[in-house]
């Protein structure tokens, strides 16, 4: 007879080494949609100004997420794309 506890998968050894990333600061920029004219994102800064992501031009760099960086809302943009599991 199958019991409920037997349906919980046994965790692989490697998973026991999983830890919260906590390796970056959440972005101070908030995404506010795509600008149809430029096809780039609009980002709200802490001071309420809206700006496109341009490296080194606005004193900050919303475009510089490190790999496996924690973004706002816990969003992670790692080194692998979403399609890395599909082939």
């Amino acid at each position: 007879m199958v019991t409920a506890s037997e349906l919980v998968p046994v965790a692989p050894w490697g998973m026991g080494r999983m830890v919260p990333l906590r390796n970056g600061e959440p972005s101070q920029w908030q995404y506010a949609g795509l600008d149809p004219a430029t096809q780039t994102g609009l980002w709200f800064g802490e001071d309420g100004t809206m700006t496109p992501a341009e490296l080194g031009k606005h004193g900050t760099s919303v475009g510089t997420y490190p790999p496996t960086q924690v973004g706002k809302d816990g969003k992670v943009d790692g080194d692998s794309g979403h399609d890395a599991t599909k082939d």
């Binding site: 906590r22 920029w29 510089t64 692998s80």
Partner: protein, 317 residues
């Protein structure tokens, strides 16, 4: 003026793609940006037909339209996958047809430069394939064991200083917080029967004085030496405490990287190396669609411009 568009396939919230699109805008290169997995079919329309010269027809997204017979390049960044909206059969059917139809046409455009082709990226994500190709090209690689046998794992970890790292870096959570598994040392006594539950990758620990991330764009190679605080094995775990220095790529390594991209049909790769105190570069892995924008910023490497060059020039031969 060349009016052929560059397609940028990525999610809406992607500041790295923004940098490239902004650079293409500056160069007056027409861009059509969309997220096939999200925008199609509600906000995008496809009408493609095959001719003796390849696929022709139109892709429209928002207010922009691309002539499929004249796409200059496709930048494959972070598109959402073709995920069914529900488990319902109708949704699963639609998702598969979109994937094979839209994705299929986008992957079969004649005269289009792919940065990189999505199927080439998917193939190159396999670490076993990477290690085999890298070693075949003469790059030093650490001794590696992939096993589900706890006894083999224990024996390997006893034979030399050993690390464990996952074969795929997925998005996981611990108590609602983003989580992951850093490459970290393994003592033989830590191995348990739970190794038998799935494949595990163990690797000899390279005695290193620093790390290099080498970003290859076409035939241009940009390298930064990354120094982490003492005792840190996986620099990604210590982003806030790293120092960066642009460095030259040794000639033989550069040649191997270009051949590596050639073997996998890639035009981009973000490679990680461990550098020994003797200055030898040990291949650890390649991220075929890896991050680079933060490195441009901290190490002063002109990667945005190199990517825009490739996309603007399109297929040249």
């Amino acid at each position: 003026m060349d009016g052929r568009p560059v397609l940028v396939s990525t999610e809406a919230e992607d500041p790295t793609a923004d940098l490239v699109v902004a650079e293409l805008n500056r160069r007056r290169v027409p861009v059509l940006r969309f997220d096939p997995g999200r925008d199609f079919p509600a906000r995008a329309t496809l009408a493609a037909s095959i001719t003796a010269d390849g696929w022709s027809g139109r892709l429209t997204a928002g207010k922009r339209t691309a002539d499929l017979s004249g796409v200059r390049a496709l930048y494959h960044r972070r598109p959402n996958p073709y995920t069914p909206e529900s488990d319902h059969q109708a949704d699963r059917f639609a998702a598969q047809e979109n994937r094979r139809g839209l994705n299929g046409v986008l992957g079969a455009l004649r005269g289009c430069l792919y940065l990189s082709h999505p199927q080439a990226i998917a193939r190159a994500e396999y670490k076993p394939a990477q290690l085999s190709v890298a070693s075949g090209l003469g790059l030093p690689i650490p001794a590696t064991l992939i096993t589900n046998n706890p006894a083999e794992a224990e024996q390997f970890a006893a034979a030399q200083p050993t690390i464990y790292k996952p074969l795929h870096a997925g998005a996981y959570h611990v108590d609602g917080e983003p989580a992951g598994i850093w490459a970290a040392p393994v003592e033989p006594g830590e191995i348990t029967d739970a190794v038998s539950v799935c494949a595990h990758l163990f690797q000899a620990r390279v005695s290193k004085s620093g790390d290099v991330r080498a970003v290859v764009v076409g035939d241009r190679v940009f390298c930064a030496l990354i120094t982490a605080p003492p005792g840190v094995l996986d620099w990604r775990s210590e982003y806030r405490n790293l120092t960066y220095e642009p460095v030259d790529c040794p000639g033989p390594v550069r040649a191997a990287l270009l051949r590596f991209l050639g073997e996998f049909g890639l035009r981009f790769g973000a490679f990680d190396f461990a550098v020994t105190p003797e200055g030898e570069w040990w291949f650890l892995e390649c991220n075929p669609n890896g991050q680079w924008a933060w490195l441009e910023h901290v190490a002063g490497l002109p990667i945005t411009s190199a990517i825009a060059d490739l996309l603007e020039n399109g297929v040249t031969e």
